[in-house]
């Protein structure tokens, strides 16, 4: 135990003596959390919409006005032809084009229905779907409004047969404010803590190997477990601090809810960090140069982030990828964070997940201890 204390002290001395590293490991998560929390959203601020109005009637003009009135669309300019519209889409000057054909008003009056064409730049995938549904809502609102005011041209039946009015009430649970930051800040915080922790541990042993100091340690009677423990503890404490700073920012700046028990979050965090840092140390024992360690760490981090449901929906992934995601500690910890903080879940919901993380942590540590060799066979 005393040996571990001496080694831990040494790690701390080394880290805090390197001012650049200290600045980096505290500044990067803070700055990125503050900035990037505003970025992680599919909510479109404003869509630039180009209208090609071939009808040029009061009804079509009304529609354009309607679109301009809402905060979702900004009508960029009205182009006379489809060619110009096409070019504008290609140049990314606009994201959507609304084509109102000739006889739009006439059709509405005569047949009670008319067609318009909506052309979307689907280059950024999911955005297109949202624009489409925004536009559809506005169109049907406008249609409803017109029903009352527009003179009827040809009436098929007169009021005797009333259809059952559909009263669709939508509710969003757990995040009624629809504040995506409440959802994203915990995920970003986990991502940033994980990146920093994994990088620091992954290069740590390799660095000592490259510098030659590892050899000196290897001839000492210190055991493998002592060594790995002493490498883990400093970064574990550092990561706890980084996370706490981030969580404070999340609360103060972004007002993330804390419905559940914070103790539960920290319990899970402590276990989770063992998994991540243990994995980092394991990477450090299997690589020979810091460069290699970095590549492996980069790969692992990418899998962690992209296959953990942080930014993209897990349910959409193919089955094999979902299986991989099951083994992804980031996924589980983010689940715990979101459940406890946003939904107020308790031990009964996240207990098994924490146990699973604990088992993984134990396994990873054993792997790192086994893989670390004091001698060459």
């Amino acid at each position: 135990m005393r040996t571990i204390l001496f080694l831990v002290r040494k790690e701390f001395l080394q880290i805090f003596r390197d001012h650049t590293t200290v600045a980096q490991i505290f500044m990067i998560p803070v700055v990125q959390l503050l900035v990037l929390s505003n970025a992680a959203t599919f909510d479109l601020k404003q869509t630039r919409l180009l209208v090609v109005d071939e009808d040029r009637t009061t009804v079509s003009a009304g529609l354009v006005q309607r679109l301009e009135g809402g905060r979702q669309f900004r009508v960029v300019r009205q182009a006379p032809s489809d060619q110009v519209a096409e070019q504008a889409l290609l140049d990314r000057d606009v994201t959507a084009v609304l084509h109102i054909p000739r006889h739009f008003e006439e059709d509405l009056v005569q047949h009670r229905r008319a067609k318009v064409q909506l052309i979307l730049n689907a280059e950024e995938g999911s955005a297109a779907g949202i624009i489409q549904s925004n536009a559809t809502t506005i169109l049907s609102d406008y249609a409803r409004e017109l029903s009352a005011t527009l003179p009827a041209g040809r009436r098929s039946f007169t009021g005797t047969m009333r259809p059952a009015p559909l009263d669709l009430r939508t509710q969003r649970w757990f995040n009624p404010t629809r504040n995506y930051k409440h959802y994203m800040v915990p995920a970003l915080l986990v991502a940033l803590t994980t990146i920093i922790g994994l990088l620091l541990t992954a290069q740590n042993i390799t660095r000592e190997y490259e510098l030659g100091t590892l050899e000196q340690l290897n001839v000492t009677p210190m055991t493998k477990l002592q060594f790995i423990a002493a490498k883990l503890i400093p970064f574990w404490l550092l990561s706890l601090v980084i996370f706490t700073i981030g969580l404070t920012i999340g609360k103060l700046v972004f007002g993330i809810p804390m419905r559940g028990n914070l103790v539960l979050v920290y319990l899970a965090l402590m276990v989770y960090l063992i998994v991540v840092l243990g994995l980092g140390l394991w990477i450090s024992t299997i690589t020979r140069t810091q460069q290699q360690a970095m590549f492996v760490a980069f790969f692992v981090i990418l899998i962690f982030l992209l296959m953990g449901g942080l930014f993209t929906p897990l349910d959409s992934m193919p089955d094999w990828a979902q299986a991989v995601a099951e083994a992804n500690p980031v996924k589980h910890f983010v689940f715990i964070m979101r459940s406890v903080l946003v939904k107020g879940a308790g031990l009964e919901t996240v207990g098994t997940t924490i146990l699973g993380l604990a088992a993984a942590g134990l396994a990873v540590l054993m792997l790192a201890v086994r893989r670390y060799r004091k001698y060459a066979a």
């Binding site: 390197d18 650049t20 590293t21 980096q24 990037l36 505003n38 970025a39 959203t41 599919f42 909510d43 601020k45 869509t47 630039r48 290609l90 509405l108 009670r112 229905r113 318009v116 689907a122 280059e123 950024e124 995938g125 779907g129 489409q132 549904s133 406008y142 098929s156 039946f157 009333r162 059952a164 559909l166 939508t170 509710q171 649970w173 757990f174 995040n175 629809r178 995506y180 959802y183 970003l188 940033l192 990088l199 620091l200 290069q203 660095r207 460069q291 970095m294 590549f295 990418l302 899998i303 992209l306 930014f311 993209t312 929906p313 349910d315 959409s316 990828a321 991989v324 946003v342 919901t349």
Partner: protein
Amino acid sequence: MKAFLGFVRKETLHLLRDRQTLAILLLLPLIQVLIFGFAVRTDVRKIPIAVVDPTPDIATLELRDRLAASERFHVVGVASSSQNLETQFRAGSIRQALVLPSEVERRLGRGDSLLIQLLTDGSDPNTGGIMQGYATAVIHRWYGDAAPAQDGLRIEPTSRLRYNPTLESSHLFVPGLVAFVLTIMSAMMTAISITREKETGTMEMLLVSPIRPAAIVVGKVIPYIVLGFSGVILVLIAARVVFQVPLRGSLTLLLAECGLYIITALALGIVISTKAPTQRTAMIFALAGLMMPTMLLSGFIFPLDSLPGWLQAISFMVPARWFLVVVRGIMIKGAGLATLWQETLVLLGMTAFFLLVGSRKLAIRLS
């Protein structure tokens, strides 16, 4: 010049001899694009939904069928009361619930008001919005067909999704991955290899040689340009063959832009290396510093249009943002230089800036 060529040769040999690193450099981007191109989808599919249907009849069965038939939904269960919904939501086994009133068929016939509740797990507001939109659309279509003819006006939009009509995720994601992986790999490579020389002291040896410092850096970087470019070609072949990502624009232009971007990223790596005293700081800069901003501020995952104004301004500083527009433009939209000249100009400017900063720092270090 001869000394310089000799130096480039030394660097190349150095790299070729290190088989492991060589393999990593060449294959890692390919493997990453293959894995993530298949695994990650930005669209929402198979939403686990529960239906509460107290009195099943023809009308509700029709609605349930429509949900089940859609790729987007996965009907987890049908219950007669909404008792357990809360627990299911909390456990994450369902993400949406549709609560129908009793006797839907009768109500439709009688013209009574039809109150339908659609509950959505909003804890992920991003997918929450999309899920709600999808479900609403299904209900509206069902209602339009199930309810007797209506009197109201209808404006019927027909939508055309340009460039990616099926919204195929990989077509959007793979070009993004190319930009992302290329940025991190290239910047990290140069940053680490230069700081490594600084750390081991071999840089001093080079600096006292007659080769100019800028030439040293160029010499170090040339093998990586070649290597990075080979990696890009592999990745592009994979994008084409495996993911059938279209290449609507000019291949020559695409390769030229990729070449330019590799240099941009390598130059960024040089700047990092001049600021970082050790490999550790270099790699934290290159990985922790670049990874998340490149992922979130480039349009790789989240659309650029969704960034608030001030953040859009910040995103202008992210090189991958510009490159991504170029790659998607050429591959998916078939755009040419006439469309992409601005982005290309920005990348050229950034490269020049990075190289300038990098070489000035080196010169200062020398004096």
